[in-house]
């Protein structure tokens, strides 16, 4: 767990308890004060509804999409020691993507947007699989990079037949995890070609390339250089912008003002979840040496070293970075609330999207 800058009898485990509790306390209390905290009872209902939605999406979309490989999703083998985590989060990853996609369409006044919402569901699930692979399974990620890289991404974007060629390679891929991800990618790009031929599509493709680059660059880095902080932010926020761009393609005739408002709203939502991710994962990221902007900010002296240090955690807890980050999250949540409460966006879509953001904010903290 890295070297100790100075000796202390205070156990590391208690520092981790403090980090876990304090990060959650300041967040919950801040959101409560702002009236932006979903009550426990409401959350339980919300979570049950979202899990049911996710299970339905899994059956209706992933089953035909994955074909013979679908049954691996239920296997106790997939993703080794992360199996339980993967299986429990799967429905929520699908449901979150779906709801964000649907909400992004509906606040633009679009109806019948289930098709785009499904694409967003699969995209968000794919991103979570990609993240898991790159964060915790370097060997799988290495093999994946032999099959999928910047050039393949470009091919998929430029040519309609790219997805079929990607699927053609699956015969030689032994690992179920890789086949799942490649099938998801192929499906996603085949759908994109069905909907996207416009300037908005170019923006979507650019955002996808940037998101891919940030994902790859963020692997196994915990140093605090400004460049890495940017990568950390982009890795977390760009997928939200991909969802926004997908909705935008569906609404080419939306006025400039509304379009700008949608983009700003998504910027707030994306940054909220980026900061929330780092705040709630602070203990896990410390233990597993994953990039975390809160820890990295205090880890300058260990740049390039073996990992976060005891002292880095002491410094993080000794300062006010947790409170500042909680304040930032609260401000973003407030901004989402204010924007969606304005007349720019149609009701009830705006109210529904706010509930989705607040519900998943609550869920992130559990």
């Amino acid at each position: 767990m890295g070297g100790h800058a100075r000796h202390s009898d205070w156990p590391l485990a208690l520092l981790l308890d403090e980090a876990w509790l304090r990060s959650r306390r300041v967040l919950v209390q801040g959101l409560e004060e702002a009236g932006l905290w979903m009550s426990h009872r409401d959350y339980e209902e919300f979570a049950a509804e979202q899990r049911a939605l996710g299970e339905r999406l899994k059956r209706e979309i992933l089953q035909p999409l994955l074909g013979n490989d679908y049954f691996y999703l239920g296997s106790e083998r997939l993703f080794a020691a992360s199996n339980r985590d993967f299986r429990s989060k799967l429905p929520l990853a699908l449901a979150f993507g779906y709801e964000l996609g649907l909400g992004s369409c509906e606040i633009r006044g679009l109806r019948d947007s289930a098709g785009v919402a499904e694409m967003c569901a699969v995209f968000n699930f794919g991103i979570s699989v990609f993240d898991l692979m790159h964060d915790q399974f370097p060997e799988l990620a290495g093999r994946f990079s032999e099959l999928f890289d910047r050039e393949v991404l470009r091919e998929l974007q430029d040519r309609k037949g790219g997805s079929i060629e990607l699927l053609d390679q699956l015969g030689v891929v032994e690992q179920a995890e890789l086949r799942l991800l490649l099938k998801i990618i192929a499906w996603f790009f085949s759908r994109i070609h069905g909907i996207a031929e416009s300037d908005a599509a170019d923006e979507l493709h650019q955002t996808l390339r940037a998101a891919y680059a940030a994902e790859v660059q963020s692997s196994d880095v915990i140093t605090a250089t400004p460049e890495m902080m940017t990568i950390s932010r982009e890795k977390s926020t760009l997928p939200f912008h991909v969802i926004d761009r997908l909705a935008r393609i569906q609404a080419p005739h939306v006025g400039r003002e509304l379009e700008l408002a949608c983009e700003t709203l998504m910027e707030d939502i994306a940054n909220l979840f980026w900061r929330l991710d780092d705040m709630t994962d602070i203990v896990r990221d410390f233990q597993h040496r994953q990039l975390n902007s809160l820890l990295a900010a205090r880890n300058g002296e260990a740049a390039g070293g073996p990992g976060y240090t005891y002292q880095c955690l002491v410094d993080t807890l000794g300062g006010t970075i947790l409170e500042e980050t909680a304040g930032e999250i609260r401000s973003r949540a407030q901004a989402v609330h204010d924007r969606l409460g304005s007349e720019t966006f149609p009701e009830p879509a705006s109210r529904r999207l706010e509930q989705i953001v607040l519900g998943y904010t609550h869920g992130w903290l559990r």
Binding site: P11, A13, G74, S75, A80, N83, R84, F137, E174, H288
Partner: protein, 352 residues
């Protein structure tokens, strides 16, 4: 068979009935209790096992959350948990509780870290497998034995304990020390695999429990990929009875506990033959579920005399009696029902 079970409704109904049964079996304090031994019934161990088995089911979510909260407060100062309140802590119970804690948010990282360290202290002897008790647990004092040779069996490394300890370390352990400990224990586990591709257990008669959990531990370490599982699948299928069930251990009759564990082991193998055999096992489980939602119980837990290192050396096992040298039933049917429910849930999740 696989296809006929795939509409999900039949399996779903069996899962709901089993879930209801388990909910009704909770004690007033929200814990599950089962098995009748000299030390009384087990609470912490059985509760943790049930929480892991039913984890993720909507029906039991709130009961599991409550039970896990209570388990947090029952951790002993040495970091471990025990069979029940009056018995010294042990590695197996602690590993099961850790696996249960993984079902929930990590409320207290220090509790998990202390438990992980407790488990690592049970890595025993040259084999580097995990033992149920370490000398610091002082089980000999609890049972009134004199001298370490009297409890040498309970202090030895066992596959059934090692497999669950590994699952907990691989899922929740974070440091390189734990990684190294796990690596050595994984080698022990692989070395203990018989030429038939199965594993023998210490605390459980038959091969089903140890085989499923050894496979699961190896899967958690991503070692199944490189293991030839054909002999395992062949042996599991050879042991299957004509009606789709498995017997095993103290009983020659088919029983749900053995059937469920064999099904779970087959599902981990992911071979076509294995899946078909698993489906036949599931069909048997559904046909033999009692109206209450539970299954017929059988003697499943073996308590060897503490000095016995190899249970095969004991000729006479007494059934459903108190003491050691016995094989006993889970008289409340909780262990059997939880295991069967787990098999049904995993099968449903893998069904297309």
């Amino acid at each position: 068979m696989w296809d006929s079970l795939n509409d999900g409704k039949v399996v779903g109904t069996a899962i709901a009935k089993a879930g209801d049964y388990l909910l009704a079996q909770r004690s007033r304090d929200g814990l599950w209790r089962d098995f009748s031994t000299l030390a009384g019934a087990s609470s912490d161990w059985v509760t943790a096992y049930v929480c892991v088995a039913v984890g993720g089911l909507d029906l039991t979510r709130s009961a599991v959350t409550g039970a896990i909260r209570r388990l947090y407060f029952r951790q002993r100062p040495n970091g471990g948990w025990s069979y029940n309140k009056s018995v010294p802590t042990d590695c197996d119970t602690t590993a099961w509780v850790l696996c249960a804690l993984a079902e929930m948010p990590m409320w207290r990282p220090s509790a998990i870290e202390r438990a992980v360290r407790y488990i690592i202290r049970h890595q025993a002897g040259p084999t580097k497998g995990f033992a149920t008790y370490a000398p610091s647990d002082r089980i000999e004092r609890f049972i009134g034995a004199f001298g370490p040779e009297v409890t040498v069996g309970w202090h030895s490394a066992h596959v059934c304990v090692t497999a669950v300890a590994l699952q907990s370390l691989l899922e929740l352990g974070a440091s390189t020390d734990e990684g190294a400990a796990a690596e050595r224990a994984l080698n022990y586990l692989q070395a203990c695999r018989s030429c038939r591709g199965l594993w023998e257990s210490y605390w459980w008669p038959g091969e089903a429990y140890a085989t499923y959990h050894a496979l699961k531990a190896l899967a958690a370490a991503d070692r199944l990929r490189t293991l030839d599982l054909r002999s395992t699948v062949n042996s599991l299928c050879d042991n299957q009875l004509g009606n789709g069930a498995w017997s095993g251990g103290a009983s020659t009759e088919p029983h749900a506990f053995s059937t469920a564990l064999n099904v779970l082991a087959l599902l981990l193998c992911e071979h076509r033959d294995a899946l078909q055999a698993a489906a036949r096992g599931i069909d048997w489980l559904i046909r033999n579920q009692c109206q209450s939602g539970s299954w017929q119980i059988a003697p499943i837990l073996r308590i060897p005399p503490p000095m016995v290192e190899d249970p095969c050396t004991v000729d006479d096992w007494r059934l459903n009696e108190i003491g050691t040298g016995v094989i006993i039933e889970d008289r409340n049917g909780i262990f059997t029902t939880a295991t069967s429910l787990r098999a049904l849930t995993v099968f449903r999740a893998m069904s297309v």
